[in-house]
Symmetry: C2
Subunit: 407 residues, 2 copies
């Protein structure tokens, strides 16, 4: 028996899965020491595990284990509204639906807006879990190039002309983009909003890292440019600022859309898991989130600088790298002779050497960027980063020798 | 601004939401005492809250809060495989994917099998969250009548002939069906499997209550009739046997299908929330699940009998009811003069009187059964059940008087 004889939906061909997620399982199977630059996960020591365990052990009650409201637990909604009121994106409860992490926010956006055959504009490279979700609804993807100021929005009208139709949705990660680390400039955000209104396209504004700016000036969000814009579908998560295993996030949408968001969610999972909503609510209630974020920013800046220094030391001109002002990732492009190395081939050699990263093609639906790597600096200490970059250099030496020997 | 001007997907019209889930929010807003026969949730006292809190407070570690494998946490998969080996449905790990409750199992089934316009056969009445998920993928629903032996499978070929095409999927709750409480007979299960193979239809075998049989003889599952049948997509959950707020369930599918299940899940939520998987794994590891289930069966039988006695006492011949051998629900049909009462109207009056249930039309996509109610006997003590049925009788008196006065 193979799946060919099963009565699969047509979209089954477009359920492409996630190389990023699957690397979690792959790495779990390895028995040797590996420095992990692959997953975009917070450092273990950056997760308040002890506090979460203490909270769980003291506050879980019978309400923690029964069905919750589909829109989210009242105690979390209350704490979240209060917390967001202190940030650059104050958000009233009528705009919020609690989700199973940011991924479910993307699933909801595509469920509500994307018909089979619809064009969805994405950044190139992009977070391919997001583009995979669009594909799972039958989207056709329009890859838009990026530079140091994020998506090249100026290129979008011509690309749309060539495609012969306007995009139903524009998927963008405006701050410290995954995987490139770049931030979309304010001028481009304004232009993107204009285009969205011209085309009646939804902007899927995925911003998991916005609260993790550790350098430069906060440029605000889309909402500060166009308050209450109904074409903004904003996806937020506690995964990067607290812990991804909780699977707790939220969407910030036009209030008129919220009943539809809730209906769509009820057809997905009834409600977000309740105990973790209670943990997050209590963590915020105790006032610990700001201090936690300050600590993360300090630590992640240090780690980014450590990774840049290690890359300089071990690889110098063999690579060039972006210089993010926040978030988790460096986007490293091989150059000179090393540009001949295949990032996918380097992944195998790197794994054997004891270092894991995400190869560029895994971050492009069309498999571009085989000369590039996504390196997560957030998960490892400066000492481990140094060790990992040393191993990466060893792997590159081997790959380069193999490429040159093959000629 | 209203949603009419937003670029919604065509399926938005079919995102019908869940009256069942929304009753959670509705009831939370009420300030007066209400006996809750509405949600299909375990009794608070049937959830091992203290044990869960103690487990969480002692075993949560850093692995509990980072990304988990999309197929499920290894420690839960191991415990689940060992546990299921002791049941009527032994299931190897290669068939299991951990999900966000049973609802995500249904979402996965529909994502993988249901194209827009596909026919999906459902029981009538049915668990409308399941049919809503099929609708969210553009399904057209074929409602199949039920009797005391479950779905009238003999009627299915004629209904399919009338529809002019075979069903892509057949959605069935074989044990103590939600909402009717009936169990599909073995003869009908066999016939349904034959039809599925004739038509190449998937059977979405949703069995949240199978381990909660408290009377009669265990008839086994579809898998015992047709082992390793690739057309069986089996949806399982800890929601009813442990606690729904955990949002932990699993699907049991053909191993050839598992990569596709994992890919589909990665486009939904990356992985199931990790801490609750660890709680469930530890609960099973300690060996508490069998004893827990034995306790539930004893208690739920008592509560079913209490509800039947209260219905006899207060309503006698004014209603007839099913007599389930397990699970959570009685399906009550108004008869005689009371058949004139609208269950939807009775819901409002009942709420004012202090009793909540799910009116029949909420359990039929086409709004049938306005003379019927779903009563959950599992959530309330015998004393509260007596009080609730008394209030239901009062509400019926008022509704009947209103109906008769209006003539």
């Amino acid at each position: 028996m193979n799946t060919q004889t099963l009565p699969l939906a047509r979209r089954a061909d477009q359920l492409v899965g996630s190389i990023i997620d699957s690397s979690t399982s792959l790495l779990a199977q390895q028995k040797h020491d590996i420095v992990r630059f692959a997953m975009g996960a917070p450092a273990n020591e950056a997760v308040p595990t002890d506090v979460f365990r203490e909270i769980a052990g003291s506050i879980f009650d019978s309400e923690s284990f029964t069905y919750g409201a589909s829109e989210g637990e009242p105690r979390l909604l209350n704490q979240l509204v209060d917390y967001l009121a202190t940030t650059a994106e104050p958000t009233p409860a009528e705009r919020i639906t609690i989700t199973a992490g940011g991924m479910q926010g993307l699933d909801l956006a595509c469920k509500i807006f994307v018909d089979p055959g619809d064009l969805v504009a994405i950044e190139s490279p992009t977070y391919t879990n997001g583009s995979a979700t669009a594909l799972s609804y039958g989207a056709e993807l329009l890859e838009v190039p990026m530079d140091e100021d994020g998506m090249v929005v100026e290129a979008l009208p011509d690309l749309v002309n060539e495609a012969g139709r306007t995009p139903k949705a524009i998927y963008v990660i405006p701050n410290f983009q995954n995987p490139s680390g770049t931030t979309l400039s304010v001028a481009r955000r304004k232009r993107l909003l204009e285009l969205a209104h011209e085309w009646n396209s939804v902007i899927i504004d995925d911003d998991p890292y916005g609260l993790l700016r550790f350098a430069g000036e906060d440029v605000g969000g889309f909402h500060s440019i166009s308050p209450e814009d109904p074409l903004l579908f904003s996806v937020r998560t506690f995964s990067k600022i607290l812990a991804p295993g909780l699977r707790v996030g939220w969407v910030n949408t036009d209030p008129s859309l919220r009943p539809l968001v809730i209906s769509a969610k009820q057809a997905m999972d009834t409600c977000t898991n309740v105990p973790n909503q209670h943990i997050v609510a209590e963590f915020i209630r105790r006032g610990g989130l700001d201090e936690h974020l300050t600590g993360l920013r300090t630590e992640y800046l240090k780690r980014k600088q450590a990774m840049q220094a290690s890359l300089d030391r071990h690889l110098g001109d063999r690579i060039r790298s972006t210089d993010p002002e926040g978030g988790f990732f460096l986007w490293v492009t091989l150059q000179g002779e090393d540009a001949q190395i295949s990032a996918q081939s380097l992944f195998e050699t790197g794994l054997a050497e004891g270092v894991a990263f995400i190869p560029g093609p895994a971050l492009s639906p069309s498999g571009k960027f085989d000369d590039a790597l996504r390196l997560c600096f957030a998960s490892s200490s400066p000492e481990r980063i140094e060790e990992g970059v040393q191993r990466l250099a060893n792997a590159m030496d081997k790959e380069l020798a193999a490429v040159q020997g093959a000629r």
